[in-house]
């Protein structure tokens, strides 16, 4: 009964997963490519349905050509029954079976809407997790107002629907990702009143050799800068949004310059009218499945919890590889390279031997892109003082409506000495999103209060989820069907 159906299952059809699936299938392995989305591409290569309007990928997507080619080759392999493409499959749990892995999925674009659809289980001898990441957030007064969105959310509306999330926008937070978001919004008709970047890019000048190893990244950045200039969008470095204002929806934000101590300077505050704030502080890797099966983790340069992998992208759990953002935030190019390495390695572990010449090129490329990612994280850190002046009344956990004051109370008055205890006492991270949004902030608030740095254990307390997506009980009770090609996305 537990005979695995495929050689390699890949979870996630973004840059890493697509590359992994193709590499494994090219090596001769039978592959299942499982993805929650309707169309493949992940967050990075998200594309609209044909009915959404005129779509010109070149203006929105870098390396779109690589996506189209990879996707086409996977389609060809699917036609030869070498790849199963399973779109609209939300993996909620992975468990070890005799000779591999059982991957349990809920089916549908929003499975909550299809409560009558039985879950699906896919069995595989090897598992590659390419689950990507989502925007990392820091709370500030007013961030729960409608009209405040994650930078990635604004981008997803644009890429996936050609819908602009507001008429007048401010883009804020930190990191190079803010630039394409601002460019996309401006291009599609929003008035972008500024990119409010907490850091300054001068740190790159200290690492010229690393930049040489990733010249395309430098090119991308200058292209975005040129486009922002064309749309008359100013980038204000070392500035932050200190407050969002409005009663039932966003009407404006207060922007201030950061002083030398990393705190906003009161006399520099000014009000900027807008109906959209797209905000992000880097990304948080999606590790639900990795942690379910016991993969070892570490804290990366950007303070994110990431999965530990070896040179071939294998995790500390036998038979499981990880590629892309879950092993460290580094962007789509790095994700593709890691995916290819993982796909080849997973296939090789089943007795296929891919050519080695290409591998050494891949390893060199990965090293260069990782060095670049490391520099990027050092140039665009979350400012250490970012949450120091957070007013007690500000929500930290949006789901359970837990304030900064309630969290401080558990530490200062109740003696909580780690984020897990804070979570148990004040309930941040216990609601619908299971700490995905407030986890990082709660950890930072707690650690800062206790005058120490966040540890792996701190971050794991908010990343460990026995179930990766909320499941209606009725679906749990339903017998699951065996996986077979359902959608054509994946």
């Amino acid at each position: 009964m537990n005979t695995p159906k495929v050689d390699v299952a890949v979870v996630g059809a973004g840059p890493a997963g697509l590359a992994a699936a193709l590499a494994a299938a090219d090596s001769g392995a039978m592959v299942a490519l499982i993805d929650a989305g309707i169309r493949p591409g992940g967050q990075y290569w998200r594309s609209p349905a044909p009915g959404a309007g005129r779509f010109t990928p070149d203006t929105l997507h870098h390396s779109w050509r690589r996506f189209v080619d990879t996707n086409k080759r996977l389609d060809d392999l699917a036609g030869q029954q070498k790849v199963q493409r399973l779109a609209e499959h939300h993996v909620w749990s992975v468990e070890r079976i005799d000779d591999g892995w059982a991957i349990h999925c809920l089916v549908g674009p929003e499975p909550r809407q299809q409560a009558g659809r039985p879950p699906v289980t896919i069995q595989a001898r090897r598992l590659i997790l390419a689950t990507g990441a989502y925007d990392r957030q820091l709370p500030f007064p007013g961030w729960d107002l409608p009209g405040v969105m994650t930078a990635g959310g604004a981008q997803a509306l644009l890429k996936g629907h050609l819908v602009v999330a507001g008429k007048t926008a401010v883009v804020a937070g930190t990191g190079p990702f803010l630039l394409p978001v601002a460019v996309g919004l401006a291009r599609h008709g929003a008035r972008v009143r500024g990119v409010i970047e907490a850091n300054a890019p001068f740190g790159f000048a200290r690492s010229p050799r690393v930049l040489l190893g990733a010249l395309n990244k430098v090119g991308e950045a200058s292209a975005y800068a040129a486009q922002l200039a064309r749309h008359r969008v100013a980038v204000r470095h070392r500035h932050v949004v200190t407050r969002a204002e409005g009663t039932d929806r966003l009407t404006g934000v207060v922007v201030a310059r950061l002083g030398r101590d990393g705190r906003p300077e009161a006399h520099t505050q000014r009000y900027v009218e807008c109906d959209l704030l797209a905000v992000g502080w880097g990304f948080t890797p999606q590790l639900d499945l990795h942690l379910q099966i016991g993969c070892a983790t570490r804290v990366d340069v950007d303070s994110s919890l990431v999965v530990t992998v070896d040179d071939s992208q294998q995790t500390t759990v036998d038979g499981v590889w990880a590629a892309g953002e879950s092993t460290g935030i580094g962007g789509a190019d790095l994700a593709s390279v890691e995916g290819e390495i993982a796909g080849r390695s997973a296939a090789a572990s089943l007795g296929v031997t891919p050519a080695s010449a290409r591998l050494s090129r891949l390893l060199r490329r990965r090293a260069a892109l990782r060095r670049f990612a490391g520099v990027m994280h050092r140039v665009y850190p979350v400012p250490p003082a970012a949450l120091d002046n957070l007013p007690d009344g500000t929500l930290v956990c949006r789901c359970e409506e837990v304030t900064a004051g309630a969290i401080r109370h558990t530490i200062g008055d109740l003696g909580a000495s780690d984020p897990r205890t804070v979570k148990l006492l004040a309930r941040p991270g216990m609601g619908w999103c299971q700490g995905r949004v407030c986890g990082f902030a709660t950890v930072c608030l707690t650690a800062r209060h206790l005058r120490r740095s966040p540890t792996v254990e701190d971050l794991r307390a908010f990343a460990q989820r026995p179930i990766a997506t909320p499941i209606p009980l009725g679906q749990l009770a339903m017998p699951s069907t065996e996986g077979n090609a359902g959608g054509d996305g994946g």
Partner: protein, 89 residues
Amino acid sequence: MTGPAPFDITFDGEPIACRDGWTIGAALTAADVRSWRTTRHGQRPRGLFCGIGICFDCLVSVNGQPSVRACLAPARPGDDVRTQLGTGQ
């Protein structure tokens, strides 16, 4: 290139124009609707936040089914979308 014809859904009874392939969240956003849920404790308005199925802020009632993620649920002709209050029950 033109896709299938646009259609309507309703939000609290009012028609909302929608294109094929849009999610309910995209349709509401395009119609300048920013919130469609109130929170359990503070009764605060919520709408799209993460936009990719992570945060569950955009929960809405669709054809009588509560707690559907508007950012993921594809809009279908005639969908009856309603503001969700508190726990959604």
